[in-house]
Amino acid sequence: MKRLLLTGSLSALCLCGYAQQKLPAILSGRITAGESESLPGATIALKGHHRGTTSAENGRYRLEKIPAGTYTVLFSHVGYRTVQQAIRLKNGEEARLDIRLEPVSRDLDAVSVTGRTETREAARQAYNITAIDAKPLHNTTQDLNQVLGKSAGVRIREDGGLGSSFNFSLNGFSGNQVKFFLDGIPMDNFGSSLTLNNIPVNLADRIEVYKGVTPIWLGADALGGAVNIITNKKTRNYLDVSYSYGSFNTHRTAVTGAYTHAKSGFTVLANLFQNYSDNNYRVHTGVTDLVTSVIGPEQRLRRFHDNYRSETMQAEAGFTGKKFADRLLIGLVLSQNRKEIQTAAQMSKVYGGWYQTSTTVMPTFKYQKKDLFLKGLDLNAYGSYNLGHTQNVDTLNRVYNWAGEYKDNSRNEAGQYVPGGENSRSLYRFRNHSGIATVGANYAPGDRQSIGLNYVFTTFDRKGSDVLRPLEESYQQPQILRKHVLGLGYKLDYNDRWSTSLFVKQFIVRGEATQRVDIYTNPRWVPVFNNKSSTGFGLATTYFIADPLQLKFSYEKTFRLPEGDELFGDGINHVANRNLRPEKSHNLNLGAMLNRRFGQRHKLSVEANLIYREASDFIRVDLADNRTQSVNVRGVRNTGFDADIRYSFLDGFTAGANATYQYLINTTKYETETSKVVSAIYKDQIPNIPYLFGNANLGFQTKKAGPEGSRFGLTYHVNYVAPYYLKWPSLGYRSDKNEIPQQLSHDLSATYSLRNGRYNVSAECRNLTDARLYDNFLMQKPGRAFYLKVRYFIHKL
């Protein structure tokens, strides 16, 4: 993608030798930054000729078949000054231009910042954003969840091993309050085969975590923030194949690749990945005697019904770099998964037969064009529709214990078959028919100002049935939800030091549902739906005090619209609540960021953020007739901070640490709308949310590990979570509180690469000390585990 940042001035360059050959001409060379660091991803363009390429990981580029003539070559990279170089090419000539790009310096007197990648550039936005460079992690066996879980402010809570349900928490907000995007596209309708816990890290180029305040072009009805996963779009021809195997019979394969025909611009992108695990890790628990029901003493037992598998194919084809479109891609996502369910929300309830399957069949459409009709007008559009389904299978009339033994209740004393289920007998199968369409336009008439308009439309139309309950009328009722998020933003870069964005967003929810009325006199279904409309707004501003020190402030009043499951129920245990209101929040961030180089060898970056959230009408799960239901009750205030520090010594040694503290309190004075009694937990700390956690890591890398182009690296990571209460802290005897104890886990990994990253092998040990780790309602997580990964990566210049 040609994202040119035209800041002007000419800098150092070097012009090297000529070679004699036959027509036409070839231009090649190497792009460096700072001293001699290779700069990948730089754009090399022949001005006015629609020809260009990008530099590879080693900084090299090559443009072939250039007709003889005089050209102006533009060398650019986000965060660096663009270099213009005129060159005259003769027929058959092979010219070489090695270019050194200088970083953009906001203040010429200040120490210059070097080596800034797009990841760094993203972090320089006015928003409170954590940008994670995923490329160095491509040799690890992590999925996106595990990568994200190591950054400040983020806590991923999982019920178990691979594929288990998880809860992504950002500054204390979790579940649907945080929204996810893939290349700016909402992932809402991707289905359960394409979530953060089964997408391999190799798919991502970098990940941006927006905390609290989200820019309009993401078009999110997010309360707590948004996560945007950015895939590799710069390397136009590459193949990345990896396979890992590890503990608990875990197999994961990922193949990602891109092909672009240089002349026609024809492009094919494909991602294939597969996950499989038995998840049969050991847990500490007692076995219930099948006769006396007495729970025996604690033992170490393997999980026995937790198999997970998923296979996904995401393919796109179309044209890139053409006059009519920078990108025009038609795609298809196909995926399937099958997930066994080992336990209920607490481990005391164990299952041996219940499972769920789901599929995704989703056509997609993408269009992007810069300078459409007039210079500075950019347009992008996206659409997708998921035709996949989800099925719940609970037809085994048995009661299991942790030893895997069971009581079979499927025959009565007379030997007759007795149907039943483990949780609730069900073969409920549904399609959500969920679709998304987004259109975004941005117009920047000059260098200093831009105006953007973004519109996101999502539709949800659930159709479900259960062959075991053919007469259930509620399944035949309409369950339609349509959401519109319209955003308008204005950005002013007043000068090189100060930049501000202002925005307003309109959130609209429309739907169709029915309610059974007059159940005794004239029972019938009548339409009922509360259409809602809310307006949010905000601003984000940043000021560079000196080049390495940046201040940020952002505020947003935002809303999160209810999801289909919350409004219509899940068809099994979650009851519909069609009167659910959007959640709302005032989000405030204040941050400071410092990037400095000390001498030629030491680099230091420090970042600290203060956050404040005042949220109300929280959507929480409550009980309704022994089932659960989403209701608007809680008001929450979060006052917290997070800090991140990173240090590196040349390319060889890195160290980093981050810590997050969040103090969430309950601001609900009355528990019900009619109550006149002040709640006992008014202003108490919100339970079951980690309030203090942190990460630290050390890395060592050397190129002196064998033949030229080889590399050896060692990484150590530690995660700490302070103990926290499962229930309201102020209630009950201290000695009887249900507590999640302090957790400390250590991971170690080693990577060896040959031929500049073409061949890679890595080994990892997670939870090195075999510590007992927990989440949620004391759900136990895997102990010590080992993984091995091999990866092959090639790319063409």
Partner: protein, 407 residues
């Protein structure tokens, strides 16, 4: 590791702390007289995933505030409670299926017993004697069999587990029996039920009272008592449908009220009798509550003694679909079961119905939870005078278990 601790210690040192510093400041003398104590299991404020029950004890029900703040034994989830002799069982309601037990220790303080067992949620249950209880899990998803447990609370284990067919008891091939009380008397298990045809508790059979009688411990269906003078007996999971008197007669009550969860029926709300030694409703006895009160229905009933029962009676006549399950706005009344009279209790406000596990009978008085928008309070009701006295305030959503326990 030390480094990490140092970094995090720095964060902590910023002056924040998650836990409140007040430790357990409870004086044991306030909780017990040494031999006996009142025990309240209450559901604290908060929504389902974050709140839970706390078991409190006190020797004074009439003054101050009974609060879970800083006191009470925290439970893992919402629970139901049953007192069997000297043991209090905290029984699964949601989430976990683990049952712990509590007894009073030497000092008279509630202490967790050794051992736990695992059972399904119990919709119908009652003690059999001072060590055993019977409980039934009743399916709602169309599964044909209910599970019957016999539990030994002294030994903290299940001593018998069996199945009974819910379609067989209903006997019409379409709907199934939903038991709401279970009482073992001699060699019989009495189990009143209403009928349902789906998980929304809909039924076409709301206009008859049913009680299934099983042999015990054999659990063979011996008979289903039916009476069409009124509608179904009891309420969902009420466990108060059968009142056993000193002479062995049993009284039943039928709300026939939408607010109690009943499907509509034209049958009047009434109390009926099953005489000791018989397995049929007494044809000569019918206490028509609506007739006596001028059109109001009964929400619940608890036998006190000497032919007197405390009842909750709705304060409104027209029940609509919106009232379903609310048990809203009931009044307390003393019923004279022999004279068939109703005497409203004075000085007690309108409140939400349900009594079985939120009241204690002691020396001709009933201590009862009175819950409405003004909060939750304990009232002492003098049955002879039909008069209430306001007592301690309870800080929480609801009293789920209310017992008197002794060493």
């Amino acid at each position: 590791m030390k480094k990490v601790h140092a970094v995090l210690a720095a964060a902590i040192a910023m002056g924040f702390s998650a836990c409140k510093s007040d430790s357990d400041k409870v004086n044991p003398d306030d909780l017990t007289d040494g031999n006996s104590t009142y025990v309240l299991a209450l559901t604290a404020d908060g929504s389902a995933s974050e709140s839970t029950d706390y078991i409190l004890q006190t020797k004074d029900l009439m003054t101050g505030v009974l609060s879970p703040v800083g006191q009470g034994i925290e439970q893992k989830s919402y629970r139901m409670y049953e007192q069997i002799g000297k043991t209090l069982l905290s029984i699964t309601y949601q989430g976990t299926n683990v049952v712990p037990g509590y007894t009073l220790n030497q000092a008279g303080l509630l202490t967790k017993k050794n051992g736990e067992f695992s059972i399904l949620r119990l919709h119908a249950r009652n003690p059999i004697n001072d060590s055993l209880m019977v409980g039934m899990y009743v399916p709602r998803d169309g599964t044909a069999e209910a599970t019957v447990y016999e539990i030994n609370a002294n030994q903290m284990k299940v001593t018998r587990e069996a199945k009974v067919n819910v379609f067989q008891a209903a006997g019409n091939g379409k709907e199934w029996a939903y038991f709401n009380d279970a009482r073992v008397i001699g060699n019989k298990l009495w189990a009143p039920f209403f009928q349902i045809k789906n998980s929304s508790f809909e039924t076409a059979y709301a206009d008859t009272a049913y009680v299934a009688v099983y042999s015990y411990p054999g659990l063979k269906l011996e008979k289903v008592l039916k009476d069409a003078r009124t509608g179904a007996i009891g309420v969902y999971a009420g466990n108060d449908a059968l009142s056993l008197t000193e002479n062995g007669d049993m009284y039943t009550y039928s709300p026939t009220a939408i607010a109690s969860g009943s499907a509509p029926t034209t049958k009047p709300s009434a109390v009926m009798r099953i005489k000791n030694g018989t397995t049929e409703f007494d044809k000569d006895y019918f206490f028509n509550i609506e007739q006596v009160t001028g059109g109001y229905k009964i929400a619940s009933m608890k036998y006190v003694g000497s032919g007197k029962a405390l009842a909750q009676i709705y304060s409104f006549k027209d029940h609509t679909a919106a009232d379903k399950w609310t048990t809203r706005d009931v009044r307390l009344a003393v019923l004279d079961l022999n004279a068939k009279t109703v005497a409203y209790v004075t000085d007690v406000p309108l409140h939400t119905g349900g009594m079985k596990y939120s009241s204690i009978v002691e020396n001709g008085n009933v201590y009862i939870q009175i819950k409405n928008n003004d909060g939750v309070f304990i009232y002492k009701v003098d049955i002879a005078a039909a008069k209430g006295t306001k007592g301690a305030q309870v800080q929480g959503k609801s009293v789920m278990g209310f017992f008197k326990m002794s060493k």
